[in-house]
Amino acid sequence: MNALHVAALLAVAVSGTATVLVRDPVRQAVVAGFFGLALVILFMAFQAPDVALSQLVVTAVAVPIMVLLTLAKLRDDRDDE
């Protein structure tokens, strides 16, 4: 365990807590991106580049686009009522 490990673990703890505390879903999607980035750094620090790469594509591409498109659809559905 070196300083990088401790810093990465702390970043995951802080950004993970922040993701839960943010209540607006659109902002939550952005904060969740930072949480994902912290996880990428954590996996790199613990010498798991394969997992880091998977986490990177999921957190940067798959999750935000699906969350934002779903939110857009839900908002429009509500407008219709």
Partner: protein, 252 residues
């Protein structure tokens, strides 16, 4: 139950859970010193028996390749499920192509954003192919590369070149690619059964360790998964985009 009692109960439960968590982490083996013989055996099995330098790729696509087959089929089913659900909500009269509907949304994209998106499409495609092709040599592989390939579609959308998207992304071709990727993996698994006597056995020539064409079936399976993942993500995202654009044109 009053609010106070609930908070007290939650604090007790969290304290117990936290204590158990700390005890569990304290009992873990030191970082870099795993217990048991499997870590060393996996490196040996990948490098010596399969000529694969990326041990994670060697394990996921060969030693435990049958698990990856299951995971690939899960994504396959998820993409089909999302498509069926989203298409059922789309009425017959609304069946016009998303490309036409997006023309109204197009001028709202900033010119700099469109230029950036258009310029990044090529490099992102090359990066995706690189990550898939080197899955058996360096970290990465079919899943990661497949998502990178699918993100090139999102860049085309960000660039506002919806006519380009229409040409790039005829949904039927994406569906065929998804089926081909999933089918190719199953066929390679079957090939092991036919040519080497066991499902998922590595029946292709192994080549020289470290070369692009080495590792037998591992790079083939990486390519199959890459095609399948890229098509599945593209399919889900384009169905969701169709829905969003459908709404936008409804407002106009």
């Amino acid at each position: 139950m009053s609010r106070r009692t609930r908070i007290r109960l939650a604090l007790v439960a969290l304290a117990v859970l936290g204590g158990l968590g700390v005890a569990a982490v304290a009992g873990l083996p030191d970082f870099g010193h795993p217990r048991g013989p499997y870590a060393a055996a996996a490196v040996e099995a990948s490098l010596d028996d399969r000529h694969v330098t990326a041990t994670v790729g060697g394990v996921t696509f060969d030693v435990r390749g049958i698990d990856t087959l299951g995971e690939e089929l899960i994504l396959f089913c998820a993409a089909i499920g999302a498509t069926v659900l989203l298409r059922a909500q789309r009425g017959e009269g609304e069946g016009r192509d998303a490309a036409e509907r997006a023309d109204a949304a197009r001028p709202r994209m900033a010119a700099s954003l469109r230029a950036l998106g258009a310029n990044l499409v090529g490099p992102v495609l090359v990066l995706g192919i690189y990550v898939i092709a080197h899955g058996h040599l360096t970290p990465g592989g079919g899943f990661q590369g497949g998502v990178i390939l699918a993100s090139a579609l999102l860049l085309v959308f960000a660039a506002g070149q919806m006519i380009g998207v229409r040409r790039l992304r005829p949904v039927s071709a994406v569906e065929v690619a998804e089926a081909v990727g999933a089918g190719a993996y199953a066929l390679v698994a079957l090939g092991g059964l036919i040519f080497a006597g066991a499902a998922m056995a590595n029946f292709l020539p192994l080549g020289t360790t470290g070369q692009l064409l080495s590792g037998g079936t591992v790079p083939v399976l990486n390519a199959a998964v890459g095609i399948e993942v890229a098509a599945a993500i593209t399919l889900i995202v384009s169905e969701l985009l169709d829905q969003a654009l459908l709404r936008e044109s409804g407002d106009a």
